[in-house]
Protein backbone atom coordinates (compact mmCIF):
# COMPACT_ATOMS: atom_id res chain seq x y z
CA UNK A 1 0.00 0.00 0.00
CA UNK A 2 1.43 3.37 -0.94
CA UNK A 3 2.24 5.89 1.72
CA UNK A 4 0.11 8.57 0.09
CA UNK A 5 -2.97 6.36 0.07
CA UNK A 6 -2.45 5.31 3.66
CA UNK A 7 -2.09 8.91 4.83
CA UNK A 8 -5.01 10.16 2.73
CA UNK A 9 -7.39 7.47 3.91
CA UNK A 10 -6.39 8.06 7.53
CA UNK A 11 -6.81 11.80 6.96
CA UNK A 12 -10.26 11.30 5.45
CA UNK A 13 -11.36 9.18 8.42
CA UNK A 14 -10.09 11.72 10.90
CA UNK A 15 -11.52 14.67 8.96
CA UNK A 16 -14.97 13.09 9.11
CA UNK A 17 -14.52 12.42 12.80
CA UNK A 18 -13.33 15.95 13.45
CA UNK A 19 -16.34 17.42 11.62
CA UNK A 20 -18.63 15.24 13.70
CA UNK A 21 -17.02 16.47 16.92
CA UNK A 22 -17.27 20.17 16.07
CA UNK A 23 -20.97 19.75 15.42
CA UNK A 24 -22.28 23.31 15.68
CA UNK A 25 -19.41 24.73 13.67
CA UNK A 26 -19.86 22.07 11.02
CA UNK A 27 -23.57 22.77 10.75
CA UNK A 28 -22.97 26.50 10.40
CA UNK A 29 -20.41 25.90 7.69
CA UNK A 30 -22.76 23.52 5.92
CA UNK A 31 -25.57 26.06 5.99
CA UNK A 32 -23.34 28.71 4.42
CA UNK A 33 -22.25 26.46 1.59
CA UNK A 34 -25.73 25.03 1.20
CA UNK A 35 -27.29 28.44 0.71
CA UNK A 36 -24.58 29.42 -1.73
CA UNK A 37 -24.83 26.29 -3.85
CA UNK A 38 -28.63 26.25 -3.71
CA UNK A 39 -28.84 29.82 -4.97
CA UNK A 40 -26.51 29.00 -7.85
CA UNK A 41 -28.52 25.88 -8.69
CA UNK A 42 -31.86 27.67 -8.43
CA UNK A 43 -30.70 30.64 -10.49
CA UNK A 44 -29.11 28.57 -13.22
CA UNK A 45 -32.06 26.14 -13.32
CA UNK A 46 -34.58 28.97 -13.55
CA UNK A 47 -32.59 30.51 -16.37
CA UNK A 48 -32.57 27.21 -18.23
CA UNK A 49 -36.26 26.65 -17.57
CA UNK A 50 -37.16 30.13 -18.79
CA UNK A 51 -35.19 29.52 -21.95
CA UNK A 52 -36.86 26.15 -22.46
CA UNK A 53 -40.25 27.76 -21.88
CA UNK A 54 -39.68 30.44 -24.48
CA UNK A 55 -38.44 27.84 -26.94
CA UNK A 56 -41.60 25.78 -26.42
CA UNK A 57 -43.80 28.81 -27.05
CA UNK A 58 -42.05 29.38 -30.34
CA UNK A 59 -42.38 25.76 -31.31
CA UNK A 60 -46.08 25.72 -30.45
CA UNK A 61 -46.61 28.42 -33.05
CA UNK A 62 -43.97 27.28 -35.44
CA UNK A 63 -40.56 28.70 -35.97
CA UNK A 64 -41.38 29.55 -39.59
CA UNK A 65 -43.40 32.65 -38.78
CA UNK A 66 -42.52 35.91 -40.53
CA UNK A 67 -44.03 39.22 -39.44
CA UNK A 68 -44.16 42.14 -41.85
CA UNK A 69 -44.90 45.69 -40.74
CA UNK A 70 -44.47 49.13 -42.18
CA UNK A 71 -41.16 50.42 -40.93
CA UNK A 72 -41.34 53.24 -38.42
CA UNK A 73 -40.41 56.45 -40.20
CA UNK A 74 -41.17 55.13 -43.68
CA UNK A 75 -42.69 57.81 -45.89
CA UNK A 76 -45.55 55.67 -47.23
CA UNK A 77 -48.85 55.66 -45.38
CA UNK A 78 -49.27 51.93 -44.84
CA UNK A 79 -49.25 48.55 -46.47
CA UNK A 80 -52.07 48.47 -49.05
CA UNK A 81 -54.67 45.79 -48.60
CA UNK A 82 -54.59 44.52 -52.22
CA UNK A 83 -50.81 44.03 -52.02
CA UNK A 84 -51.13 42.32 -48.66
CA UNK A 85 -53.74 39.97 -50.02
CA UNK A 86 -51.58 38.99 -52.99
CA UNK A 87 -48.30 38.46 -51.22
CA UNK A 88 -48.90 34.76 -50.45
CA UNK A 89 -49.68 33.93 -54.04
CA UNK A 90 -46.89 36.04 -55.52
CA UNK A 91 -44.00 35.14 -53.24
CA UNK A 92 -43.05 31.46 -53.60
CA UNK A 93 -40.93 31.24 -50.43
CA UNK A 94 -43.99 31.78 -48.20
CA UNK A 95 -46.92 29.41 -47.96
CA UNK A 96 -49.57 31.68 -46.55
CA UNK A 97 -49.96 35.24 -45.38
CA UNK A 98 -52.52 36.80 -43.06
CA UNK A 99 -52.95 40.57 -43.16
CA UNK A 100 -54.61 42.28 -40.22
CA UNK A 101 -56.23 45.64 -39.66
CA UNK A 102 -56.81 46.33 -36.01
CA UNK A 103 -58.71 48.73 -33.89
CA UNK A 104 -60.38 48.71 -30.53
CA UNK A 105 -63.97 48.54 -29.58
CA UNK A 106 -66.48 47.99 -26.83
CA UNK A 107 -68.64 44.86 -27.08
CA UNK A 108 -72.27 44.69 -26.02
CA UNK A 109 -74.68 41.79 -26.00
CA UNK A 110 -78.40 42.25 -25.51
CA UNK A 111 -77.70 45.77 -24.34
CA UNK A 112 -75.18 44.68 -21.73
CA UNK A 113 -71.52 45.37 -21.95
CA UNK A 114 -69.53 42.14 -22.37
CA UNK A 115 -66.07 43.59 -22.54
CA UNK A 116 -63.84 45.57 -24.80
CA UNK A 117 -60.77 44.76 -26.78
CA UNK A 118 -59.25 44.38 -30.19
CA UNK A 119 -61.39 44.36 -33.26
CA UNK A 120 -59.27 42.53 -35.77
CA UNK A 121 -59.99 42.64 -39.48
CA UNK A 122 -58.64 39.40 -40.91
CA UNK A 123 -58.88 36.94 -43.74
CA UNK A 124 -59.46 33.15 -43.75
CA UNK A 125 -55.74 32.39 -43.52
CA UNK A 126 -55.40 34.25 -40.19
CA UNK A 127 -56.73 31.22 -38.29
CA UNK A 128 -54.32 28.73 -39.84
CA UNK A 129 -51.30 31.04 -39.66
CA UNK A 130 -51.91 31.67 -35.96
CA UNK A 131 -53.17 28.13 -35.22
CA UNK A 132 -56.55 29.32 -33.97
CA UNK A 133 -59.21 26.61 -33.58
CA UNK A 134 -62.97 26.84 -33.20
CA UNK A 135 -65.25 25.48 -30.53
CA UNK A 136 -68.34 26.47 -32.45
CA UNK A 137 -69.27 27.65 -35.97
CA UNK A 138 -66.65 28.67 -38.52
CA UNK A 139 -63.94 31.26 -38.99
CA UNK A 140 -64.05 34.31 -41.28
CA UNK A 141 -64.05 33.15 -44.91
CA UNK A 142 -63.00 34.84 -48.11
CA UNK A 143 -66.64 35.06 -49.13
CA UNK A 144 -67.52 37.19 -46.12
CA UNK A 145 -66.16 40.39 -47.65
CA UNK A 146 -67.94 43.49 -46.37
CA UNK A 147 -70.34 41.40 -44.27
CA UNK A 148 -71.07 42.30 -40.65
CA UNK A 149 -70.23 38.88 -39.42
CA UNK A 150 -67.80 38.15 -36.67
CA UNK A 151 -65.90 35.40 -34.81
CA UNK A 152 -65.48 35.91 -31.07
CA UNK A 153 -62.60 34.89 -28.84
CA UNK A 154 -63.14 32.47 -25.95
CA UNK A 155 -63.08 35.25 -23.37
CA UNK A 156 -65.67 37.35 -25.16
CA UNK A 157 -67.83 34.23 -25.66
CA UNK A 158 -67.64 33.52 -21.95
CA UNK A 159 -68.79 37.05 -21.17
CA UNK A 160 -71.66 36.71 -23.64
CA UNK A 161 -72.78 33.46 -22.01
CA UNK A 162 -72.60 35.24 -18.69
CA UNK A 163 -74.92 37.88 -20.14
CA UNK A 164 -77.47 35.25 -21.01
CA UNK A 165 -76.56 33.96 -24.48
CA UNK A 166 -77.32 30.25 -24.71
CA UNK A 167 -76.38 29.76 -28.37
CA UNK A 168 -73.66 32.04 -29.58
CA UNK A 169 -73.60 31.26 -33.29
CA UNK A 170 -76.29 33.39 -34.89
CA UNK A 171 -76.61 35.78 -31.98
CA UNK A 172 -75.95 39.47 -32.40
CA UNK A 173 -73.00 41.31 -30.94
CA UNK A 174 -72.76 45.05 -30.91
CA UNK A 175 -69.30 46.43 -31.58
CA UNK A 176 -69.18 50.19 -31.03
CA UNK A 177 -72.82 50.50 -32.02
CA UNK A 178 -72.46 48.35 -35.12
CA UNK A 179 -74.29 45.03 -35.05
CA UNK A 180 -72.46 41.86 -36.03
CA UNK A 181 -73.79 38.33 -36.36
CA UNK A 182 -71.60 35.79 -34.60
CA UNK A 183 -70.58 33.00 -36.99
CA UNK A 184 -67.95 31.28 -34.91
CA UNK A 185 -66.41 30.97 -31.44
CA UNK A 186 -62.70 30.34 -30.92
CA UNK A 187 -61.16 27.87 -28.54
CA UNK A 188 -59.24 29.27 -25.64
CA UNK A 189 -55.83 30.34 -26.94
CA UNK A 190 -52.85 30.92 -24.69
CA UNK A 191 -51.04 34.10 -25.61
CA UNK A 192 -47.42 33.69 -26.63
CA UNK A 193 -45.46 36.72 -25.55
CA UNK A 194 -42.32 35.41 -27.19
CA UNK A 195 -43.73 35.99 -30.66
CA UNK A 196 -43.00 39.12 -32.67
CA UNK A 197 -46.75 39.83 -32.91
CA UNK A 198 -49.51 39.64 -30.32
CA UNK A 199 -52.79 38.01 -31.34
CA UNK A 200 -54.60 38.21 -28.01
CA UNK A 201 -57.34 36.03 -29.46
CA UNK A 202 -59.37 35.44 -26.29
CA UNK A 203 -60.39 39.05 -25.80
CA UNK A 204 -60.82 39.92 -29.47
CA UNK A 205 -63.55 39.99 -32.05
CA UNK A 206 -62.53 39.00 -35.59
CA UNK A 207 -64.31 40.52 -38.56
CA UNK A 208 -63.72 40.37 -42.35
CA UNK A 209 -60.82 42.61 -43.22
CA UNK A 210 -62.86 44.66 -45.72
CA UNK A 211 -65.50 45.27 -43.07
CA UNK A 212 -62.78 46.41 -40.70
CA UNK A 213 -61.64 48.94 -43.27
CA UNK A 214 -65.01 50.62 -42.91
CA UNK A 215 -65.42 50.66 -39.16
CA UNK A 216 -61.84 50.95 -37.89
CA UNK A 217 -60.06 54.30 -38.18
CA UNK A 218 -56.82 52.75 -39.43
CA UNK A 219 -54.75 53.88 -42.43
CA UNK A 220 -54.24 50.39 -43.81
CA UNK A 221 -52.92 46.96 -43.03
CA UNK A 222 -51.21 46.99 -39.65
CA UNK A 223 -49.32 43.72 -40.02
CA UNK A 224 -48.97 40.73 -42.30
CA UNK A 225 -48.25 37.47 -40.51
CA UNK A 226 -46.83 34.88 -42.89
CA UNK A 227 -45.30 31.44 -42.76
CA UNK A 228 -42.22 30.59 -44.77
CA UNK A 229 -42.12 27.43 -46.82
CA UNK A 230 -40.43 24.42 -45.21
CA UNK A 231 -36.75 24.20 -46.07
CA UNK A 232 -36.52 27.86 -47.06
CA UNK A 233 -34.02 29.95 -45.13
CA UNK A 234 -35.75 32.82 -43.38
CA UNK A 235 -33.37 35.25 -45.06
CA UNK A 236 -34.65 34.17 -48.47
CA UNK A 237 -38.26 34.66 -47.44
CA UNK A 238 -37.45 38.13 -46.09
CA UNK A 239 -35.64 39.10 -49.31
CA UNK A 240 -38.49 37.79 -51.49
CA UNK A 241 -41.11 39.73 -49.51
CA UNK A 242 -39.05 42.89 -49.76
CA UNK A 243 -38.62 42.59 -53.51
CA UNK A 244 -42.37 41.94 -53.94
CA UNK A 245 -43.27 45.15 -52.11
CA UNK A 246 -40.48 47.14 -53.77
CA UNK A 247 -42.13 46.45 -57.13
CA UNK A 248 -45.69 47.07 -55.94
CA UNK A 249 -45.16 49.93 -53.53
CA UNK A 250 -41.89 51.79 -54.06
CA UNK A 251 -41.04 54.00 -51.13
CA UNK A 252 -42.68 51.71 -48.58
CA UNK A 253 -40.16 50.80 -45.90
CA UNK A 254 -40.73 47.42 -44.29
CA UNK A 255 -39.85 46.02 -40.91
CA UNK A 256 -39.69 42.23 -41.21
CA UNK A 257 -39.10 40.04 -38.18
CA UNK A 258 -38.77 36.28 -38.35
CA UNK A 259 -39.24 33.87 -35.48
CA UNK A 260 -35.95 32.15 -36.20
CA UNK A 261 -34.09 35.41 -35.96
CA UNK A 262 -35.90 36.16 -32.71
CA UNK A 263 -35.06 32.73 -31.36
CA UNK A 264 -31.41 33.26 -32.15
CA UNK A 265 -31.52 36.66 -30.47
CA UNK A 266 -33.41 35.23 -27.54
CA UNK A 267 -30.91 32.41 -27.08
CA UNK A 268 -28.15 34.98 -26.73
CA UNK A 269 -30.19 37.05 -24.30
CA UNK A 270 -31.17 34.02 -22.26
CA UNK A 271 -27.54 32.96 -22.13
CA UNK A 272 -26.60 36.34 -20.70
CA UNK A 273 -29.57 36.17 -18.36
CA UNK A 274 -28.54 32.75 -17.06
CA UNK A 275 -24.98 33.91 -16.65
CA UNK A 276 -26.16 36.93 -14.70
CA UNK A 277 -28.36 34.82 -12.45
CA UNK A 278 -25.44 32.47 -11.90
CA UNK A 279 -23.25 35.41 -10.97
CA UNK A 280 -25.82 36.64 -8.45
CA UNK A 281 -25.97 33.15 -6.96
CA UNK A 282 -22.19 32.98 -6.85
CA UNK A 283 -22.02 35.93 -4.49
CA UNK A 284 -23.72 33.95 -1.75
CA UNK A 285 -21.46 31.03 -2.61
CA UNK A 286 -18.42 33.22 -2.02
CA UNK A 287 -19.88 34.28 1.32
CA UNK A 288 -20.35 30.58 2.14
CA UNK A 289 -16.77 29.91 1.11
CA UNK A 290 -15.49 32.64 3.40
CA UNK A 291 -17.50 31.00 6.18
CA UNK A 292 -15.68 27.73 5.48
CA UNK A 293 -12.35 29.51 5.57
CA UNK A 294 -13.20 31.05 8.92
CA UNK A 295 -14.22 27.71 10.36
CA UNK A 296 -11.08 26.04 9.10
CA UNK A 297 -8.90 28.83 10.52
CA UNK A 298 -10.52 28.33 13.92
CA UNK A 299 -10.06 24.59 13.60
CA UNK A 300 -6.37 25.03 12.79
CA UNK A 301 -5.87 27.43 15.70
CA UNK A 302 -7.53 24.99 18.08
CA UNK A 303 -5.45 22.09 16.91
CA UNK A 304 -1.98 23.59 16.96
CA UNK A 305 -0.83 21.05 19.53
CA UNK A 306 -2.24 18.17 17.51
CA UNK A 307 -0.51 19.44 14.38
CA UNK A 308 2.79 19.69 16.25
CA UNK A 309 2.43 16.15 17.62
CA UNK A 310 1.71 14.79 14.17
CA UNK A 311 4.72 16.62 12.79
CA UNK A 312 6.92 15.18 15.55
CA UNK A 313 5.66 11.71 14.74
CA UNK A 314 6.71 12.11 11.12
CA UNK A 315 3.86 13.88 9.29
CA UNK A 316 5.17 15.93 6.39
CA UNK A 317 3.85 19.40 5.71
CA UNK A 318 1.76 18.10 2.84
CA UNK A 319 0.22 15.42 5.08
CA UNK A 320 -1.02 18.13 7.42
CA UNK A 321 -2.18 20.24 4.49
CA UNK A 322 -4.14 17.36 2.98
CA UNK A 323 -5.72 16.58 6.34
CA UNK A 324 -7.26 20.04 6.58
CA UNK A 325 -8.02 20.29 2.87
CA UNK A 326 -9.92 17.00 3.00
CA UNK A 327 -11.85 18.36 5.94
CA UNK A 328 -12.93 21.50 4.11
CA UNK A 329 -13.71 19.62 0.91
CA UNK A 330 -15.85 17.06 2.77
CA UNK A 331 -17.65 19.98 4.39
CA UNK A 332 -18.33 21.76 1.10
CA UNK A 333 -19.30 18.62 -0.81
CA UNK A 334 -21.87 17.67 1.82
CA UNK A 335 -23.01 21.30 1.84
CA UNK A 336 -23.10 21.15 -1.94
CA UNK A 337 -25.31 18.07 -2.01
CA UNK A 338 -27.71 19.63 0.47
CA UNK A 339 -27.57 22.84 -1.54
CA UNK A 340 -28.46 21.02 -4.74
CA UNK A 341 -31.47 19.45 -3.04
CA UNK A 342 -32.53 22.83 -1.62
CA UNK A 343 -31.92 24.62 -4.92
CA UNK A 344 -33.98 22.11 -6.88
CA UNK A 345 -36.74 22.29 -4.28
CA UNK A 346 -36.78 26.08 -4.59
CA UNK A 347 -36.86 25.83 -8.38
CA UNK A 348 -39.70 23.33 -8.23
CA UNK A 349 -41.67 25.63 -5.94
CA UNK A 350 -41.17 28.62 -8.21
CA UNK A 351 -42.19 26.52 -11.22
CA UNK A 352 -45.41 25.51 -9.47
CA UNK A 353 -46.36 29.14 -8.94
CA UNK A 354 -45.44 30.25 -12.46
CA UNK A 355 -46.86 27.29 -14.42
CA UNK A 356 -43.45 26.62 -15.89
CA UNK A 357 -42.40 23.07 -16.56
CA UNK A 358 -39.93 21.94 -13.91
CA UNK A 359 -36.84 20.26 -15.24
CA UNK A 360 -33.61 19.21 -13.55
CA UNK A 361 -30.71 20.62 -15.44
CA UNK A 362 -27.96 18.00 -15.29
CA UNK A 363 -25.45 20.69 -16.05
CA UNK A 364 -26.44 22.75 -13.04
CA UNK A 365 -26.27 19.74 -10.71
CA UNK A 366 -22.86 18.67 -11.99
CA UNK A 367 -21.50 22.19 -11.87
CA UNK A 368 -22.99 22.61 -8.39
CA UNK A 369 -21.01 19.67 -7.05
CA UNK A 370 -17.91 20.72 -8.93
CA UNK A 371 -18.21 24.25 -7.62
CA UNK A 372 -18.68 23.00 -4.08
CA UNK A 373 -15.49 20.97 -4.25
CA UNK A 374 -13.67 23.90 -5.82
CA UNK A 375 -14.89 26.22 -3.07
CA UNK A 376 -13.61 23.73 -0.48
CA UNK A 377 -10.22 23.58 -2.12
CA UNK A 378 -9.97 27.30 -2.73
CA UNK A 379 -11.13 28.54 0.65
CA UNK A 380 -9.63 25.59 2.51
CA UNK A 381 -6.20 26.04 1.03
CA UNK A 382 -5.07 29.04 3.04
CA UNK A 383 -5.99 27.52 6.44
CA UNK A 384 -4.51 24.16 5.44
CA UNK A 385 -1.35 25.81 4.25
CA UNK A 386 -1.14 27.77 7.46
CA UNK A 387 -1.54 24.53 9.43
CA UNK A 388 1.24 22.85 7.47
CA UNK A 389 3.62 25.72 8.18
CA UNK A 390 3.10 25.80 11.94
CA UNK A 391 6.27 25.48 13.95
CA UNK A 392 6.09 22.09 15.71
CA UNK A 393 8.26 23.29 18.61
CA UNK A 394 5.92 26.15 19.44
CA UNK A 395 2.95 23.81 19.14
CA UNK A 396 4.45 21.26 21.50
CA UNK A 397 5.19 23.91 24.08
CA UNK A 398 1.63 25.16 23.85
CA UNK A 399 2.65 28.54 22.50
Amino acid sequence: MSRTFSVLSANAREAAESLRRARLRTVLGLVGVMIGISSVIAMVSLGEIAREQARKQFEALGTDIVVVRKAVGSGAKAIDLPNALQVAAAVPSITEAAPRISGRGTFRFAGRKVGGGAVQGVTRSFASVNRLTLQEGRFISDLDADRYWCVVGAGVAEAMRGAGADRLAGSLLEVDEVLFTVVGVLDDKEESYALPVQVNANKSVFVPITTAQRIVPAPGVEVVIARSRAGVHYGTAVADIRSFFRKRAPGLGLDIVTAKELIARMEVQMGIFTLLLGAVGSISLIVGGIGIMNIMLVSVAERRAEIAIRRALGARQRDIRSQFLIESVILTIIGGMLGIALGLAATWTICRFTDWDFLISGLSVASGLGTAAAVGLFFGFQPAHQASRLDPIAGLQGK
Binding site: R3, L313, G314, L396
Partner: protein, 230 residues
Protein backbone atom coordinates in the same frame (compact mmCIF):
# COMPACT_ATOMS: atom_id res chain seq x y z
CA UNK B 1 24.70 6.23 16.28
CA UNK B 2 24.12 9.89 17.04
CA UNK B 3 26.91 12.39 17.13
CA UNK B 4 26.66 16.09 17.83
CA UNK B 5 29.72 18.28 17.44
CA UNK B 6 29.97 21.96 18.29
CA UNK B 7 26.21 22.52 18.33
CA UNK B 8 25.28 26.14 18.85
CA UNK B 9 21.79 27.53 18.85
CA UNK B 10 20.88 31.15 19.30
CA UNK B 11 17.60 32.99 19.07
CA UNK B 12 17.05 36.56 18.11
CA UNK B 13 14.33 38.34 19.95
CA UNK B 14 14.18 41.84 18.58
CA UNK B 15 17.67 43.32 18.60
CA UNK B 16 18.94 40.89 21.26
CA UNK B 17 20.52 37.59 20.29
CA UNK B 18 20.47 34.98 23.03
CA UNK B 19 22.69 31.95 22.71
CA UNK B 20 20.99 28.95 24.29
CA UNK B 21 23.46 26.26 23.30
CA UNK B 22 27.10 27.24 23.28
CA UNK B 23 28.90 24.39 21.65
CA UNK B 24 27.52 21.01 22.64
CA UNK B 25 29.37 17.81 21.81
CA UNK B 26 27.51 14.58 22.43
CA UNK B 27 27.82 11.04 21.24
CA UNK B 28 25.06 8.51 21.86
CA UNK B 29 25.85 4.85 21.27
CA UNK B 30 23.36 2.19 20.35
CA UNK B 31 21.91 0.66 23.52
CA UNK B 32 22.69 3.65 25.73
CA UNK B 33 20.37 4.64 28.55
CA UNK B 34 21.44 8.17 29.04
CA UNK B 35 20.20 11.21 30.91
CA UNK B 36 20.70 14.88 30.34
CA UNK B 37 20.01 16.79 33.52
CA UNK B 38 19.83 20.49 34.02
CA UNK B 39 17.77 23.25 35.59
CA UNK B 40 15.09 24.99 33.58
CA UNK B 41 16.53 27.49 31.14
CA UNK B 42 19.72 25.51 30.78
CA UNK B 43 18.94 24.65 27.16
CA UNK B 44 17.93 21.03 27.59
CA UNK B 45 14.68 21.32 25.68
CA UNK B 46 16.44 23.15 22.87
CA UNK B 47 18.98 20.36 22.75
CA UNK B 48 16.24 17.76 22.66
CA UNK B 49 14.52 19.57 19.78
CA UNK B 50 17.77 19.49 17.83
CA UNK B 51 18.40 15.83 18.59
CA UNK B 52 14.75 15.13 17.68
CA UNK B 53 15.21 16.89 14.31
CA UNK B 54 12.49 19.40 15.15
CA UNK B 55 14.95 22.28 15.22
CA UNK B 56 18.13 23.09 13.34
CA UNK B 57 21.31 24.26 15.08
CA UNK B 58 22.71 27.68 14.23
CA UNK B 59 26.03 25.95 13.72
CA UNK B 60 27.57 22.56 14.37
CA UNK B 61 27.02 19.12 12.94
CA UNK B 62 24.39 16.58 13.83
CA UNK B 63 25.13 13.14 12.47
CA UNK B 64 22.48 10.44 12.73
CA UNK B 65 23.52 6.93 11.68
CA UNK B 66 26.49 8.33 9.83
CA UNK B 67 24.42 10.90 7.95
CA UNK B 68 24.71 14.65 8.39
CA UNK B 69 21.17 15.91 8.83
CA UNK B 70 21.88 19.63 8.89
CA UNK B 71 21.27 20.22 5.19
CA UNK B 72 18.16 18.08 4.81
CA UNK B 73 14.82 19.39 3.59
CA UNK B 74 11.81 19.47 5.85
CA UNK B 75 10.25 16.41 4.18
CA UNK B 76 13.40 14.39 4.68
CA UNK B 77 13.61 15.42 8.32
CA UNK B 78 9.98 14.36 8.78
CA UNK B 79 10.75 10.96 7.29
CA UNK B 80 13.85 10.61 9.50
CA UNK B 81 11.87 11.51 12.61
CA UNK B 82 9.27 8.99 11.62
CA UNK B 83 11.79 6.15 11.17
CA UNK B 84 14.51 6.89 13.70
CA UNK B 85 13.12 8.91 16.58
CA UNK B 86 10.46 8.12 19.13
CA UNK B 87 9.18 10.96 21.34
CA UNK B 88 7.87 10.74 24.89
CA UNK B 89 6.68 14.06 26.32
CA UNK B 90 6.11 15.31 29.82
CA UNK B 91 2.45 16.03 29.12
CA UNK B 92 2.02 12.84 27.07
CA UNK B 93 0.68 14.66 23.99
CA UNK B 94 -1.77 11.93 23.05
CA UNK B 95 -4.47 13.02 20.61
CA UNK B 96 -7.62 13.22 22.75
CA UNK B 97 -10.03 12.16 20.00
CA UNK B 98 -8.20 8.92 19.22
CA UNK B 99 -8.23 5.66 21.18
CA UNK B 100 -5.01 4.32 22.67
CA UNK B 101 -4.67 1.94 19.75
CA UNK B 102 -5.20 4.69 17.16
CA UNK B 103 -2.71 6.94 18.94
CA UNK B 104 -0.11 4.19 18.81
CA UNK B 105 -0.85 3.62 15.10
CA UNK B 106 -0.07 7.25 14.16
CA UNK B 107 3.66 6.91 13.35
CA UNK B 108 2.83 3.94 11.11
CA UNK B 109 0.18 5.97 9.27
CA UNK B 110 2.88 8.42 8.24
CA UNK B 111 5.06 5.52 7.21
CA UNK B 112 2.41 4.20 4.84
CA UNK B 113 1.63 0.93 6.55
CA UNK B 114 -1.58 -0.98 5.82
CA UNK B 115 -4.34 -0.78 8.40
CA UNK B 116 -4.37 -4.41 9.58
CA UNK B 117 -0.59 -4.42 9.86
CA UNK B 118 -0.65 -1.16 11.84
CA UNK B 119 -3.23 -2.46 14.26
CA UNK B 120 -1.33 -5.71 14.77
CA UNK B 121 1.88 -3.86 15.58
CA UNK B 122 0.15 -1.36 17.83
CA UNK B 123 -1.68 -4.11 19.67
CA UNK B 124 1.55 -6.00 20.28
CA UNK B 125 3.42 -2.99 21.58
CA UNK B 126 0.52 -1.95 23.82
CA UNK B 127 0.61 -5.43 25.31
CA UNK B 128 4.32 -5.04 25.90
CA UNK B 129 3.83 -1.84 27.94
CA UNK B 130 1.03 -3.47 29.93
CA UNK B 131 -1.90 -1.70 28.27
CA UNK B 132 -3.49 -4.67 26.50
CA UNK B 133 -6.77 -4.14 28.35
CA UNK B 134 -7.09 -0.48 27.50
CA UNK B 135 -6.53 -0.31 23.74
CA UNK B 136 -10.00 1.04 22.98
CA UNK B 137 -9.92 3.75 25.66
CA UNK B 138 -9.48 7.39 24.86
CA UNK B 139 -6.83 9.38 26.76
CA UNK B 140 -9.38 11.04 29.08
CA UNK B 141 -10.37 7.56 30.30
CA UNK B 142 -6.78 6.77 31.29
CA UNK B 143 -4.70 7.69 34.33
CA UNK B 144 -1.46 9.65 33.99
CA UNK B 145 0.69 6.56 34.20
CA UNK B 146 -1.47 4.77 31.66
CA UNK B 147 -1.27 7.71 29.30
CA UNK B 148 2.50 7.71 29.54
CA UNK B 149 2.57 3.98 28.81
CA UNK B 150 0.50 4.57 25.68
CA UNK B 151 2.85 7.40 24.75
CA UNK B 152 5.84 5.10 25.19
CA UNK B 153 4.11 2.47 23.05
CA UNK B 154 3.54 5.13 20.37
CA UNK B 155 7.20 6.13 20.52
CA UNK B 156 8.30 2.52 20.14
CA UNK B 157 5.84 1.22 17.56
CA UNK B 158 7.97 2.29 14.62
CA UNK B 159 11.05 0.62 16.10
CA UNK B 160 13.07 3.83 16.19
CA UNK B 161 16.82 3.94 16.72
CA UNK B 162 16.45 6.46 19.50
CA UNK B 163 13.75 7.11 22.09
CA UNK B 164 13.77 10.70 23.27
CA UNK B 165 12.00 11.30 26.56
CA UNK B 166 11.50 14.87 27.73
CA UNK B 167 10.68 14.83 31.47
CA UNK B 168 8.77 11.56 31.06
CA UNK B 169 7.85 11.47 34.75
CA UNK B 170 7.33 15.20 35.20
CA UNK B 171 3.55 14.97 35.34
CA UNK B 172 3.33 11.79 37.41
CA UNK B 173 3.26 11.03 41.12
CA UNK B 174 6.27 9.30 42.65
CA UNK B 175 4.91 5.73 42.46
CA UNK B 176 3.77 6.02 38.89
CA UNK B 177 6.99 7.78 37.96
CA UNK B 178 8.87 4.82 39.38
CA UNK B 179 6.82 2.41 37.26
CA UNK B 180 7.41 4.39 34.08
CA UNK B 181 11.14 4.57 34.76
CA UNK B 182 11.18 0.85 35.45
CA UNK B 183 9.46 0.26 32.11
CA UNK B 184 12.00 2.40 30.26
CA UNK B 185 14.90 0.63 31.91
CA UNK B 186 13.36 -2.72 31.15
CA UNK B 187 12.91 -1.82 27.48
CA UNK B 188 16.53 -0.70 27.37
CA UNK B 189 17.81 -3.83 29.03
CA UNK B 190 15.63 -6.37 27.21
CA UNK B 191 15.39 -4.89 23.74
CA UNK B 192 18.53 -2.80 23.67
CA UNK B 193 16.51 0.32 22.83
CA UNK B 194 18.61 3.48 22.97
CA UNK B 195 16.99 5.96 25.33
CA UNK B 196 17.86 9.59 25.97
CA UNK B 197 16.05 11.09 28.95
CA UNK B 198 15.95 14.80 29.60
CA UNK B 199 15.09 15.74 33.16
CA UNK B 200 15.65 18.12 35.99
CA UNK B 201 15.06 15.36 38.52
CA UNK B 202 18.24 13.79 39.98
CA UNK B 203 16.36 10.63 41.00
CA UNK B 204 15.37 10.04 37.39
CA UNK B 205 18.84 10.82 36.10
CA UNK B 206 20.27 8.52 38.72
CA UNK B 207 18.58 5.52 37.14
CA UNK B 208 20.44 5.96 33.88
CA UNK B 209 23.69 4.23 33.04
CA UNK B 210 25.13 7.36 31.44
CA UNK B 211 24.48 10.68 33.09
CA UNK B 212 25.27 14.10 31.69
CA UNK B 213 24.50 17.58 32.90
CA UNK B 214 23.75 20.69 30.97
CA UNK B 215 24.44 24.10 32.33
CA UNK B 216 24.55 27.47 30.61
CA UNK B 217 24.33 25.89 27.20
CA UNK B 218 27.18 23.47 27.69
CA UNK B 219 27.11 19.74 28.29
CA UNK B 220 29.21 17.95 30.89
CA UNK B 221 29.59 14.23 31.40
CA UNK B 222 31.01 13.77 34.91
CA UNK B 223 31.61 10.02 34.83
CA UNK B 224 33.09 9.69 31.38
CA UNK B 225 34.49 13.22 31.57
CA UNK B 226 34.41 13.23 27.80
CA UNK B 227 32.11 15.87 26.43
CA UNK B 228 33.29 19.19 27.69
CA UNK B 229 31.76 21.78 25.43
CA UNK B 230 34.31 24.42 26.35
Amino acid sequence: MLKLTGIRRSYRIGPVTTEILRGVDLEVHAGDLMSIMGPSGSGKTTLMNIVGLLDRPTSGACILDGRDVSGLRDDELSALRNRHIGFVFQSFHLLPQLTALENVCLPLVYRGAGRPEMRRHAQAILERVGMAERTGHRPDQLSGGQKQRVAIARALVGEPALLLADEPTGALDADTAGEVMALLRQLNAERGITILIITHDPSVAGQCARQTRIRDGRLFEPKAAAADGA
